[in-house]
Symmetry: C3
Subunit: 168 residues, 3 copies
């Protein structure tokens, strides 16, 4: 398995399940960096579903913002970050410094020596949103995916649960 993998996909495309399967081929424990914050019922249900599916062998850490630091702390363990899109949303809604947080993330990814899988939603293939915040969000997501894809050993686009190779 490559060291850094970016798993892109749409809503309910099976991207998390695909990413989990990449990790569980390796010896446990697997570190799961969960960026989602359960603000509402819909989100709580989704977080619960993902967690029930994963089962034994996973060490879950909630990481709404300090992702670079959490990657360093995972050390030699294989890591799954699920997902970059919610992390970006936390940064934008919390008015954090996006440039700094992205730079910290990229630096931490370059320091990683153990397998790392990043999940992200592809959100840029619909009609341009009316809403300025939504446009800013999809621009930030697109730029982040480009930077990570450049560094990644492998990039896949998950469609209907199936991986389409993009890189590697």
């Amino acid at each position: 398995m490559n060291t850094l993998t970016l798993v892109l996909g749409g809503a309910r495309s099976g991207k998390s399940r695909y990413a989990e399967a990449l990790l569980t081929r390796l010896p446990a424990p697997w570190h799961y960096l969960a960026t989602g914050q359960a603000w509402d019922e819909e989100m709580r249900t989704r977080v619960f579903e993902h967690r029930s599916r994963r089962g034994e062998g996973w060490h879950t850490v909630e990481v709404p913002v300090a992702l670079g630091q959490a990657l360093d702390e995972a050390g030699e363990h294989p890591v799954l970050v699920d997902c970059l899109t919610l992390w970006l949303s936390n940064l934008l809604l919390g008015e954090h410094d996006l440039e700094q947080a992205s730079a910290d993330l990229m630096a931490a990814l370059q320091r990683r020596r153990a397998p790392t899988v990043l999940v992200a939603s592809e959100v840029g293939l619909g009609i341009i949103p009316d809403n300025a915040l939504a446009r800013r969000f999809r621009d930030a997501a697109g730029l982040l995916h480009q930077r990570i894809a450049e560094l990644a050993d492998s990039v896949v686009l998950v469609v209907a649960g199936l991986p389409m190779p993009v890189k590697g």
Copy 2:
């Protein structure tokens, strides 16, 4: 030609035309299961365009909801279902039992022995919708596509009229 093919694509991507061409390589008659209901002028125009393009050899059946049953009734004839997305929309708007209808569809697909092509819109690659019903819809579509793709012999994503292989 494989037995079960899922043709995914965006709006006006040429997915219906591509799917029709898969069927018309086989001997006629071809059963066309049309799930679209012509609620408004825009939809009536589109249904009319699709029907004019198809021409001779097609046996059209309107199937807004009972898709599993219609697949059984098509028996040994090649079938095109156009499209799953409108069918799902009919189920959600009509407050039908989505789980039951999906289970009936999957069971009918497993019973099929003749070539079957299913067309569906990929709707999960844009920004997350504001609207709760739209989110529920794209979640249901994503999950349905995953289930069918798992069973399918072949899955393609049509982009600008051209098929990108996803499976098979």
Copy 3:
């Protein structure tokens, strides 16, 4: 390099950068047909960023509408059109004759003998828009992409800065 290339991609997918790199492998000057009109600050910033990145060797022509004619005028020089999506938007918002303009574009593309790269946003893979103009826009974009893809020697879908081959 092929004569006619269509580069599709989502928002901030790196499609322009990829397209520019295709052209700059060839001897300068490269003609840049810019269809974007800087209506607001957001757009002015984007146009400025693209222009700063391109640097020396580029001959920029602003072409909000008369794209067929501009392609003819570029003669034997390699041409980049960035992008078809803004051109289509100018046609629809300016209430130009879309059929005529598309026919003129297709005719000019067929007359081209020098390398031509067309950039366009893929906008049809999200949820169906509420707004009738947005639906008309994404339908027009989808149909235009199909027509050009049929004529093109090469079509790529850029995801996270990386080209996925669609044709050629």
